[in-house]
């Protein structure tokens, strides 16, 4: 035993929690039992460790307490299933097989793939990943998605029930399914990131960053997982400059670049370099991360390598055709070739596919303002304001631009 600061305890507990929940789920197939028993062990650690000191192996201590708690609860149930569950826990304890080095047998990876199974509703996948992998409370997830706690609790319950009732396997998918299921996991992580990143209070973006780091640790050979992690680190590196003191959005060209987090940017570059060594052509997440890297490396907004960015958008469009990507490409062309050229690119877009999307009139308004065509810009800003999400930072930025004309 050695002395334990609150910080050391919190980080030791956080490091072990997901793996412990994941392994108890594998042993018992009971998600609620696993979460409750691990939570119980964590609470006991927080009570005992500050006095007694931290055990030599926090993992072993927490695992023993959580498993004993599970055995206690299962003994009281007295069903055949509960007997099998007890046997599984006792066998695992006897064989001491807690630490395995093969990533395919890492319970955390099993947990992630099961939470993100395509047979679950997308909102359920997101909620369950945040609950069991990231360890957020139901109340925290409910707040993040602006629903009541009972609603979120129901959503989690339905999701866990379907896993059990429909026999969704608790495993890392076999080779023939691995590629599509991995991209399904990335979709969930990216969705969590975007949910948080649009907000001044970006807890979910921080969780997404941790989840992406975990996935890359568990699947070091997955280029697209690294691409997603790089994308998230580049975007998070700008988080302290994205909002001003009033909580209003600051456009990238007006951000103080000295405030960008150099360590996060370096982490992003490192993952892009590592992914490039695979020799495989970049997928959509790597391409987006490369675009983000162009912004990160530009010393000033004027020095941005717009030519490279347009080329990356071309590759991204080829890999993943989407009207929103085409719109972003058109904006990049405007900065490369001049605002008139940008307006022409915007006019050439599929307006039907982008109908109702505020970024099209807002991009047009932006180019018109830069060209000094204030009357036209005024109308475009009004159109964008009308479509922008009400009360959100984007809408306030448009309002400010309109006032400044």
């Amino acid at each position: 035993m050695h002395s334990a600061t609150a910080e050391a305890i919190t980080s030791a507990v956080a490091a072990e929690r997901t793996g412990m929940v994941a392994s108890l789920i594998r042993l018992t197939g009971d998600w609620d039992l696993a979460e409750d028993c691990v939570q119980d062990a964590v609470e006991r650690a927080l009570v005992h460790w500050p006095h007694d000191g931290m055990p030599r192996s926090p993992e072993a201590w927490l695992t023993t307490v959580a498993r004993n708690r599970a055995l206690d609860l299962l003994r009281r149930r007295q069903t055949e299933r509960a007997k099998l569950q007890q046997r599984a826990i006792m066998d695992a304890t006897a064989s001491g097989a807690a630490l395995e080095t093969d990533p395919q047998s890492d319970d955390r990876l099993r947990l992630i793939f099961t939470c993100c199974h395509p047979a679950l509703a997308l909102e359920g996948r997101v909620a369950l990943t945040l609950k069991t992998v990231a360890g957020l409370s139901t109340a925290e997830i409910a707040r993040a998605f602006l629903v009541s706690e009972p609603t979120m609790s129901q959503r989690l319950l339905r999701t866990k029930r379907k896993i059990s009732n429909a026999a969704i396997p608790y495993r890392v998918p076999p080779d023939e399914l691995l590629a599509e299921r991995t991209s399904g996991v990335l979709v969930v992580l990216y969705l969590i990131f975007n949910e948080g990143y649009g907000q001044h209070e970006d807890h979910l973006a921080v969780e997404a960053l941790q989840l992406a780091r975990l996935l890359v640790d568990l699947m070091p050979g997955e280029d697209e997982a690294r691409g997603l992690l790089a994308l998230v680190t580049f975007q998070m590196s700008r988080r302290s400059t994205r909002f001003d003191a009033h909580g209003d959005l600051v456009p990238m060209e007006e951000q103080d670049r000295s405030g960008w987090d150099a360590a996060l940017m370096e982490e992003g570059h490192r993952h892009l370099r590592r992914a490039a060594r695979s020799g495989r052509p970049p997928g959509p997440y790597r391409l987006q991360a490369q675009i983000a890297a162009c912004h990160a490396t530009a010393a000033t907004a004027e020095a941005t390598a717009w030519g490279t960015i347009v080329a990356l958008f071309d590759a991204l469009l080829a890999a993943q055709p989407s009207p929103v990507i085409a719109l972003n490409r058109a904006i990049a062309v405007g900065f490369r070739d001049g605002y008139e050229a940008g307006l022409a690119e915007l006019d050439a877009l599929d307006a039907t596919a982008l109908a109702g999307y505020y970024l099209l009139p807002s991009a047009r308004a932006d180019f018109l303002r830069r060209l000094g065509r204030n009357d036209e810009a005024h109308h475009a800003y009004l159109a964008a304001l009308h479509l922008a999400p009400a009360g959100q930072p984007e809408q306030r930025l448009l309002q400010r631009r309109l006032t400044d004309l």
Binding site: E80, R81, A166, A167, I168, P169
Partner: protein
């Protein structure tokens, strides 16, 4: 785990279906699934024009012509699968000839293990 697999005809999806050389015929699919021992039983059903819906209201048996639901989609057949898990059932459903141009719904049976 037992799954009921409903074989669903969807006129909209059928119009957009693109036949592929990988598509199995129903005979090939049956041989494949039966060969794996994953299919307990199954059959094709006559169209909804031959369906009869029955319910009881205030002690009266009410019989109506047609299916229980008005929908463009209709159930054209079923198979009862015995699989280790949902992924296995999904793989079997995905090879069914109706997967391209129609759809399959997988419903787990109630189990009484809890």
């Amino acid at each position: 785990m037992k799954y009921m697999m409903f074989v669903v005809v969807d006129p909209d999806a059928a119009a957009e279906a693109e036949p592929s050389e990988d598509d199995l015929t129903i005979a090939q699919w049956l041989a494949d699934v039966d060969g794996q021992g994953k299919r307990i039983t199954g059959d094709a059903l006559r169209p909804v024009s031959d369906a009869t819906t029955v319910r009881v209201s205030r002690g009266q048996v009410i019989v109506t012509d047609g299916p229980f639901t008005e929908s463009k989609e209709w159930i054209a057949g079923f198979d009862i699968l015995e699989c280790d898990n949902l992924d296995e059932a999904i793989a079997i459903a995905a090879r069914h000839p109706q997967a391209n141009g129609g759809k399959l719904e997988l419903r787990p049976f109630w189990t009484d293990e809890d």
